[in-house]
């Protein structure tokens, strides 16, 4: 199997405070990895660093995507190369229509892949298809990006964007938090449909519940800025039972 993402001895800090203290992780194509861990362990920091959030400083280590140095690329370049983050807290952007936003994003990704831009009608057709696949309401598309969306709608909208962009590496940062069972099913069915032998997922979650739907190949525990334990899906069950006390 081909290695897709490689993180080596990654150290990162925010506002002078070290949060990631030597993270090592290798993810192959076709794999689903779950990261669990106590609040404040650095899970969101890891996704922010992989995607290039400017508030975080990488002090040492490397992150490679298909052997390429991700850390040298601006955030938009990482996204075009196929890195996607389903945000723990999706951002509302008043005045920017969902359609305009998505069309710009999709065409940037296509340009990077050497594909021609989609015409307006091709694009709308693609939107319809993906919405249908994810059983999403049409009304959301006429609105500004995430503006006035409920918590569940925002998370479903993240998965919709993922479906539109067809990334090769997706991070889901607590996409399941605050979702009712129906929304959870829609989100996880979406992921399962998008999953194939060439892409990979990193699923950050607090709950075993999501992993009943999206079955991980590996489960990692992140505590105090390091991966302290790795196992298979049974580790998630164990953590659910015992909590994180032994890692805190």
């Amino acid at each position: 199997m081909k290695e897709l993402l490689r993180i080596r001895e990654l150290h990162a800090s925010i506002a002078g405070k070290e949060i990631l203290k030597g993270v090592n992780l290798s993810i192959n194509e076709g794999e689903v990895h779950a990261i669990m861990g106590p609040n404040g362990a650095g899970k969101s920091t890891l996704s922010a660093v992989i995607t290039g959030h400017p508030a975080y400083e990488v002090t040492s280590g490397e992150v490679l995507l298909n052997g390429e140095n991700l850390l040298a690329m601006p955030p938009e370049q990482r996204a075009r190369a196929g890195v996607f983050l389903s945000f723990q807290y999706p951002v509302e952007i008043p005045g920017v229509s969902m359609t305009n936003f998505m069309r710009t994003a999709v065409n940037e990704r296509r340009k990077y892949q050497g594909l021609p831009e989609l015409s307006a009608s091709e694009f709308l057709k693609l939107m319809r298809e993906k919405r249908k696949m994810l059983q999403l309401a049409d009304k959301l598309q006429g609105r500004s990006v995430n503006e006035g969306f409920s918590g569940g709608e925002k998370k479903k909208n993240e998965i919709f964007q993922m479906a539109m962009l067809e990334p090769c590496f997706s991070i889901l940062d607590e996409t399941d938090s605050g979702l009712d069972i129906d929304a959870l099913r829609i989100v996880s069915e979406g992921v399962n449909r998008l999953k194939n032998e060439h892409n990979a997922f990193l699923v950050i979650t607090h709950y075993q519940r999501l992993l009943d739907y999206i079955v991980p190949d590996f489960v990692h525990v992140l505590a105090d800025g390091q991966i302290v334990k790795t196992g298979d899906k049974t580790l998630a069950l164990e953590l659910e039972e015992k909590g994180y006390a032994e890692f805190e």
Binding site: T51, G52, H53, P54, P74, P75, E76, A79, R80, F84, L85, F87, P90, V91, E92, I93, P94, G95, V96, N100, F101, M102, T104, A105, E108, R109, Y112, S144, V145, Q161, L165
Partner: protein, 210 residues
């Protein structure tokens, strides 16, 4: 001075005028809707707008969008007086300041004694695109009556960093993301135009400039 007769509706667009000194007097039930748009302004722009609602049941709307760059200066002064009952006034003033541009808004809102049932709103929102750009806002509310609703709000800020990162994370380049956010900030300034063709044209102009 321009007088609006009873029930008259006037909608006026003033585009890139370097020196404006406008005086309006409104009679009963008239509607004045002004769009003062400085999209490609001169180096120095000064605007003075005087409106006196002398008749009852008048409505005044002032929309002003000022896109400034380099060392451009623009000062916008509005003087709205409610001299009769049941009047409404709505002001929405926006500045987008790039480079070393400087903007000033002075908004005088006066409600005369014994005038009743007034609804007056003044809003000034500004976007600073650099650390060197400057904006000064001075609301001046003179309210001598009781049974009225008068509000003003002013905010000056920068582009939303979280929104920028979110857009970049979807593959949208930083410059394009900035442009989209600035256009979004400007958009509601031409939405109230009743002439749809004109509205589309101005929106396209704004899109091209930002």
């Amino acid at each position: 001075m321009r007088s609006l007769s009873k029930g008259e509706v006037v909608e006026q667009i003033l585009l890139n005028e370097a020196n404006l000194d406008l005086h309006f007097v409104q009679s009963d039930d008239s509607v004045l809707r002004l769009f003062v748009l400085n999209l490609s302004p001169a180096d120095k722009t000064t605007v003075e707008i005087y409106v006196d609602q002398q008749g009852r049941g008048c409505r005044t709307e002032v929309y002003s969008l000022n896109l400034l760059r380099d060392e451009q200066r623009c000062s916008m002064h509005t003087h709205i007086t409610h001299s009769a009952n049941d009047g409404q006034s709505l002001q929405l003033i926006k500045f987008v300041l790039n480079d070393k541009a400087k903007g000033e808004f002075y908004g005088e809102l006066k409600i005369q004694p014994d005038v009743r049932h007034i609804d007056a709103q003044q809003t000034n929102r500004n976007l600073l695109l650099t650390d060197e750009a400057e904006m000064r806002t001075r609301p001046q509310l003179e309210i001598y009556a009781d049974d009225v609703k008068a509000g003003h709000g002013a905010s000056t800020g920068q582009l939303d960093d979280q929104a920028l990162f979110y857009m970049q994370q979807r593959g949208i380049g930083r410059d394009e993301a900035r442009r989209m956010l600035i256009a979004a900030f400007c958009k509601d300034m031409v939405m109230p135009l009743s002439d749809e063709a004109k509205r589309t044209e101005l929106m396209e102009t704004i899109d091209r400039i930002v």
